[in-house]
């Protein structure tokens, strides 16, 4: 039977698909969603990946362990330091190297600074996604201060490459402690402003409370970790459950909520900035003396075997799985990247919400696309 015009129109009214991305301001990079809509209601979201797939896992198989550090920087570029730490910890665990306290403490402080600047950028871009341009300027203004601290000590601002197997690339800059303390003092004063601009804003609350709820069961089943998982009540903080570096000697709270909507995913990150500042406070005055790196062999070869190490990046749990055959380059490296896993839940939680809410939901999961594609 031939289709009449009326048939076609009524079919189109049922469901139609549009492309969101790969070049779209609210996907925060080259990520493409194919969205099925009924009217304004999202029925299905299908992510298409691979626009910046560089084959990092394959590349790792042909380079040495100290070189891998420079690739992991480029996965989740907002948690660059923590990614490096993950690889270093895996290598050190395999070689059973004892790491002096000084290195552990410095790594922890740098990790927490990384977390703060990452959440600052989240706050900035999330505010902008939901129409608050001011957030973007405020967030980036404060983030610059952390990046300046990084630049002074490591020479890099975002891609720091400060860790290396066995310790750190260089010692701290003499100004480091003072600048960090100044920053904490400054940021403690500024953080309530963040709340005043965005957290209490009526439009923001209307657009985020109750949007995209994720239940605890789904969070565990989909493996959603990090602040996004903890907003649903999934206690998944690796810093608490499997402390690495100096996390076993600091007191901090794991930020947990029950609601699991976009508002609480946002709130979890704001609270985590406070916790991070508390952690830095406890450590910054007691950085022990000692060497900044352990002397390692010029060519690092891991003993044959399999090694798995997880760390808590700003977005969730990063797992590094190395299979070694005893050579100077790994046999297989797998990165369990938090963004890749968190992306899997997007379709579930954005179903039956409006397309404008999809921006809010995707923003609240805080994707960094190079980490998804690797």
């Amino acid at each position: 039977m031939e289709e009449t015009v009326k048939d076609i129109i009524s079919k189109e009214k049922e469901e139609y698909t549009i492309n969101m991305g790969p070049q779209h301001p609210s996907t925060h990079g080259v990520l493409r969603f194919v969205v099925s809509l009924r009217g304004e209601i999202v029925k299905n979201v299908e992510p298409h990946l691979g626009y910046i797939h560089r084959g990092i896992e394959k590349m790792c198989e042909s380079i040495t362990y100290p070189q891998i550090i420079h690739l992991t920087d480029r996965m989740d570029y907002l948690s660059a330091h923590i990614n490096n730490e993950a690889v270093c910890l895996t290598v050190e665990k395999a070689l059973e190297v004892d790491i002096p306290d000084r290195i552990k403490v410095i790594r922890t402080i740098m990790s927490e600074l990384t977390r703060i600047q990452s959440h600052q950028l989240f706050w900035a871009s999330y505010g902008m996604d939901l129409g608050g341009q001011t957030c973007f300027f405020y967030g980036l203004r404060d983030r610059e201060k952390v990046l300046d601290i990084f630049e002074e000590t490591t020479g890099g601002r975002m891609i720091v490459s400060y860790n290396c197997p066995g310790g750190l690339m260089y010692d701290l800059h003499p100004n480091f402690q003072k600048r960090v303390k100044d920053f904490i003092k400054y940021f403690r004063k500024i953080l309530p402003e963040y709340d005043a601009i965005l957290t209490g804003n009526v439009i923001f609350r209307e657009r985020s409370i109750g949007i995209g709820p994720l239940s605890l069961e789904d969070a565990i089943s989909y493996g959603v970790t990090g602040p996004s998982g903890r907003a649903s009540g999934f206690s998944c903080d690796v810093r608490k459950h499997e402390p690495y570096s100096a996390y076993d000697r600091v007191k901090f709270n794991e930020v947990l909520y029950k609601e699991g909507d976009t508002y609480h995913r946002y709130l979890a990150r704001i609270e985590e900035m406070r916790e991070s500042m508390n952690i830095i406070d406890q450590l910054i005055d007691n950085i022990p003396e000692g060497p900044y790196a352990v002397k390692m062999k010029p060519v690092i070869k891991l003993p044959e075997g399999e090694y798995y190490q997880r760390v808590e990046t700003a977005r969730g749990e990063l797992g590094v799985f190395i299979i070694s055959d005893g050579n100077k380059n790994p046999y297989r490296v797998k990165f369990r990247s938090p963004n890749f896993v968190n992306l899997g839940v997007l379709n579930l939680i954005s179903k039956d919400f409006k397309i404008a809410d999809l921006v809010a939901i995707a923003g609240s999961l805080d994707f960094v696309i190079p980490d998804i594609d690797r």
């Binding site: 691979g50 797939h53 394959k58 590349m59 789904d218 075997g305 799985f321 297989r332 896993v341 899997g344």
Partner: protein, 151 residues
Amino acid sequence: MNKIELGEFIKSTDQDLEIKEGKQFVEVTLPPSKLYSLAKQLKEREEVKFDFLDCLSGVDYGHDLGVVYHLRSTIYEHAIVLKTRTSDRENPKLDSVSDLWRTAEFHEREVYDLLGIKFNNHPDLRRLFLDNSWGFPLRKDYVDDITIVTK
């Protein structure tokens, strides 16, 4: 449960499985045919309750293709590693665990994309990053025409 108890639990479900107590995890090597039933038991049995699939990695062992599962329990905080491998390189097939842990859906698509391992009963098995015309880059016999990656 500690490692010894976990090892005993696995033994109680199936006598023939190869169990190794590694430095980090209890490692169970099992044939593909037994994978799904053991995974289901680990997920559902109240004593162990492995409800969190941490990591799923495909590996090319040279002769065989395999998959390594890192499982974790959020209640008891213990962990276990399952390993399975198939010697069929032309048409490798394993059972999907995506109905037990939904996160496996994405992981398995990635493994299919980069290693060419197919998963039975996967709801949506398509390539994830690469075009259909690509080979399977994480295989050791992959030839890179452009030779950006050489070893």
